[in-house]
């Protein structure tokens, strides 16, 4: 019953997601970053819908809806407003220049694929090959969190990682049990709210969101 088309669709989504996370990795402008993040969420939504449609896993529609609401609409919205309110549109510079970051990213992708290869061989789902990509996305966003210097961008990286995980969940196994999905979503939401609050605290304490302010606690 699995049509090659659907699986191609999913692979396409996967490719787009990977592309997006690469572009996020190299993107300097914070607002664009948010848009990219929204796009990523959108793609994720599409892929989930496709999976749900093809495999008649209807509880996946809930998580699709969750993704849509949370990651495509809500989070980007508040992120946008936060960034405008905090005036943190510009990431001044990253710790590593873009090309080097890309290179490392590439290596990571290869590593992720090799890692996921034996697993996806076991997979019976239509989404078998995408697990590697999911892992790659997780790692790329990890890399992004490492290389960025602004609190906001770090958070976006964090959310991108969550996306990767969602994608993994849907692609490897047709979604986690509903309770878990809900719980995870809730945590993400609350986490975002808290972070939002934090931005303001950080701003009022250090009057900038630059992370090099947050290096006072250390061993000398």
């Amino acid at each position: 019953m699995v049509t090659p088309l659907s699986s191609q669709l999913i692979d396409l989504c996967a490719a787009v997601l990977l592309l997006l996370s690469f572009s996020m990795l190299s993107q300097r402008r914070v607002l664009t970053l948010v848009d990219l993040f929204a796009l990523q969420g959108g793609t994720l939504f599409v892929s989930i819908v496709v999976v749900a449609w093809n495999t008649h896993q209807y509880q996946l529609f809930y998580s699709a809806a969750l993704t849509l609401v949370l990651k495509v609409i809500f989070l980007p919205l508040i992120l946008n407003r936060l960034i405008r309110r905090l005036g943190a549109q510009w990431e001044t510079e990253t710790l590593l220049n873009a090309s080097a970051t890309m290179l490392i990213g590439l290596l990571l992708v290869i590593f992720a694929f090799t890692l996921a290869e034996p697993i996806s061989r076991l997979a019976s789902t239509i989404t078998r090959s995408t697990l590697g990509i999911a892992l790659a996305i997780v790692m790329l966003s990890f890399l992004m969190m490492i290389t960025r210097r602004k609190a906001v961008t770090q958070v976006i990286g964090f959310l991108a990682m969550e996306n990767g995980l969602f994608f993994a969940a849907t692609s490897a196994t047709y979604g986690m049990p509903m309770v878990v999905e809900l719980g995870v979503a809730l945590d993400v939401l609350v986490g975002m709210v808290i972070l939002g609050v934090f931005f303001f605290h950080i701003r009022e304490q250090f009057d900038s969101l630059d992370l090099h302010n947050l290096e006072s606690l250390k061993e000398d």
């Binding site: 590593f111 890399l143 210097r149 006072s216 250390k218």
Partner: protein, 667 residues
């Protein structure tokens, strides 16, 4: 007392009773009468009882008991055999005197409140008793470390003084490291059975390599507690810091408990297989003894001096242990028995005499508030009791006949004289040197003790304040008397006491002096024509001669006795400051044994209007061993601090790399 099992229970109950007394101290924590006049005398009685019970049971076979406490897999095992009985006797009798003294020694308003001090003191006593009773590694370690802890708190009674805090820290640190090595030693000793009862360790059979490892670990661990060079640095710090009864307890009892541990492991578990262990112990012991006595000669603080003298005595004891091991390894049972007897006897005599001396310093301290020898003097007129009783202790520890110290040294020298019959020529060459060194040490000990006694009690008071020094109170007198009595009896009646030790040496070596002690008055361990010593006869004839001479002289003599000022040697005035100071008295030794010391001297120039001479004597080991270790640790710490530099990106990188590394690892 007759029924052995009831005696056994009685003995095991006494530590509990001590704990109870300690807790009772908390009832009225600030009341000196309650603690001093009631609790401490009671615990002294308990000490006597313990000693008596242990003594009466010395010859009995071993008894064991399992208490429903401790780990589920390893409940507390208790065992009472000759060795533990002997050391219990030591603990009981010595602590009896010390507790009695403490009863009068306590004063209100000095650091820790008396009630709390009473608790710590009795926990200390009880834990020492339990160490000796323990028959499994866990109980042993628990008691051992409680001993260290309680004594630490006692040492830091005057915790407001920084040097005392420092002393306490060094003490506890070294004690802890020693305990760790003992723990390792037990880990080796169980020899594959993975049961940590001492019975299992007795049964275990180790390859020579593992056995040697265990022995070295034990030597390190127990040596750290006993103050074996180079692990001695805590001792001269901690003993002066502690209140005098505590110093007495630490020096007179705790060090011997460490010796107990070594004997237990070496002979009971390892059966003293290899002769080079003995050589090692002997060498270390000799060096420790020489080191200790030479440093004692250079001290200017009376309690530091005694502490170093303790190091010296511990050295002598280790030397005895070493000889015992050597003889035992070569299957010379009788000689091993002689050496062991000497060792145990020295433990006993050191316990009595050293506690006596430390207590007397306590009385001096209370009477004069002065610890530095340079400010004392002439106290024999102000405090005759203390002075005369101390004289006995001084002579005993200097190893002079007919007191206790001499007996053990005599036996040791006898043992040395037999070494040429060893099958191993190398040791034959080596051991006479040992004998010579031992002789040198005991002669030096006499020097040190003359300095100690002479500077404190004789001559003219070096400070005007000493004029109103007062003699010690009645409880103190009783305590001192008891200990002095012990020194005398140990000196005069070696034969009956050695006969009591037979059971111990039979347990450990399978041989004893047994039949060789027929005459109670004549000590002839091998054969009367070989060597003999009869302190009683010695004493009697001396006394007889003294009285005879006195009588004779008084018959012969017709003149009167006039009292005048001493001859001023032509000086216009004779002041107390013209006497030898402690530094001055130690100066020849400092000169002869210069390489031992790390000295910093400031000499006055001939043109000084107010000439000032200062000399400070330090311990090389501190700078050679301990300081470097500390710097290394600090360096490593500085390096490790690199991973905590506060940059969140770096932290993220850490976890990322960890992840990748692990993934590669499992791939």
């Amino acid at each position: 007392m007759t029924d052995p099992t009831c005696a056994f229970f009685g003995i095991t109950l006494i530590p509990v009773a001590w704990l109870v007394i300690g807790l009772l101290g908390l009832v009225r924590i600030r009341s000196v009468p309650w603690v001093g006049r009631i609790l401490f005398p009671v615990s002294a009685l308990l000490g006597l009882l313990l000693g008596a019970m242990a003594l009466s049971g010395l010859a009995l076979p071993a008894q064991t008991l399992v208490l429903p406490l401790g780990l589920p897999s390893l409940p507390f095992h208790v065992r009472l055999d000759g060795l533990s009985r002997f050391f219990l006797m030591l603990i009981g009798f010595t602590s009896a005197g010390i507790s009695m003294f403490s009863a009068g020694y306590l004063r209100p308003g000095e650091g820790t409140p008396p009630g709390l001090m009473c608790l710590q003191y009795h926990v200390f006593l009880a834990s020492m008793a339990v160490v000796v009773l323990a028959n499994d590694a866990y109980l042993f370690m628990v008691a051992w470390e409680s001993m260290a802890l309680s004594s630490y708190f006692l040492v830091t009674t005057e915790h407001r003084l920084p040097e005392i805090r420092r002393a306490g820290f060094i003490y506890l640190l070294i004690a802890h490291i020693g305990a760790i090595s003992i723990l390792l030693c037990f880990g080796v000793l169980q020899g594959g059975s993975w049961r940590f009862t001492f019975d299992a360790m007795r049964a275990a059979h180790l390859t020579p390599l593992w056995a040697s490892l265990a022995f070295v670990l034990a030597l390190f661990g127990f040596g750290a507690k006993a103050g074996l060079v180079p692990l001695h640095v805590w001792l001269p710090e901690a003993h002066p810091a502690a209140p005098s009864p505590v110093s007495a307890l630490m020096s007179g009892v705790m060090l011997e408990v460490a010796i107990y541990g070594l004997l237990r492991v070496t002979f009971d578990f390892l059966h003293a297989q290899l002769w080079w262990w003995g050589l090692l112990a002997l060498g270390l012991g000799l060096f420790t003894a020489l080191f200790g006595v030479v440093f004692a000669a250079a001290q200017t603080d009376m309690k530091r001096l005694l502490a170093y003298s303790s190091i010296e005595n511990i050295g002598i004891i280790f030397l005895g242990v070493g000889l015992t091991i050597i003889f035992h390894a070569f299957h010379m049972a009788l000689l091993a028995a002689v050496a062991l007897a000497a060792t145990l006897y020295h433990c006993l005599s050191h316990a009595f005499s050293k506690s006596l001396l430390f207590l007397s310093t306590g009385s001096v301290l209370h009477a004069t508030r002065e610890r530095s020898l340079g400010k004392l003097g002439g106290l024999i007129h102000r405090m005759p009791w203390v002075a005369w009783l101390t004289l006995i202790g001084t002579l005993a520890i200097a190893g002079l006949p007919p007191l206790s110290g001499f007996v053990s040294e005599w036996l040791l020298l006898q043992a040395f004289l037999f070494t040429p019959s060893l099958p191993h020529s190398f040791i034959n060459m080596l051991l006479p040197i040992g004998a010579a060194a031992l002789a040198l040490v005991s002669a030096l000990a006499a020097y040190v003790m003359v300095k100690f006694y002479g500077v404190i009690f004789l001559g003219q008071p070096r400070e005007p304040t000493l004029q109103d020094a007062h003699d010690c109170g009645r409880p103190e007198r009783i305590g001192l008397l008891w200990l002095a009595l012990g020194c005398v009896l140990l000196g005069l009646l070696p034969v009956p006491i050695l006969a009591l030790l037979n059971s111990v040496s039979r347990e450990l070596l399978g041989a004893s002096l047994g039949g060789r002690l027929q005459h109670w008055w004549l000590l002839a361990p091998i054969a009367p024509e070989r060597a003999s010593y009869s302190p009683v006869l010695f004493m009697l004839s001396t006394v007889a001669l003294v009285t005879l001479v006195t009588v004779a002289v008084h018959l012969l003599y017709h003149g009167k006795v006039r009292k005048t000022e001493p001859w001023g040697c032509g000086f216009p005035v004779v002041t107390a400051r013209m006497q030898d100071t402690a530094e001055g008295f130690g100066q020849p030794i400092r000169q002869i044994f210069e390489p031992f010391f790390r000295m910093s001297r400031t000499l006055p120039s001939p043109f000084d209007t107010a000439p000032h001479y200062r000399v400070q004597v330090d311990d090389h080991f501190w700078y050679w061993l301990y300081a470097p270790v500390a710097t290394v640790i600090q360096g490593v710490a500085r390096m490790t601090a690199v991973i905590q530099r506060g940059r969140i990106s770096v932290y993220l990188l850490f976890s990322f790399l960890t992840l990748l590394a692990l993934l590669v690892f499992v791939l």
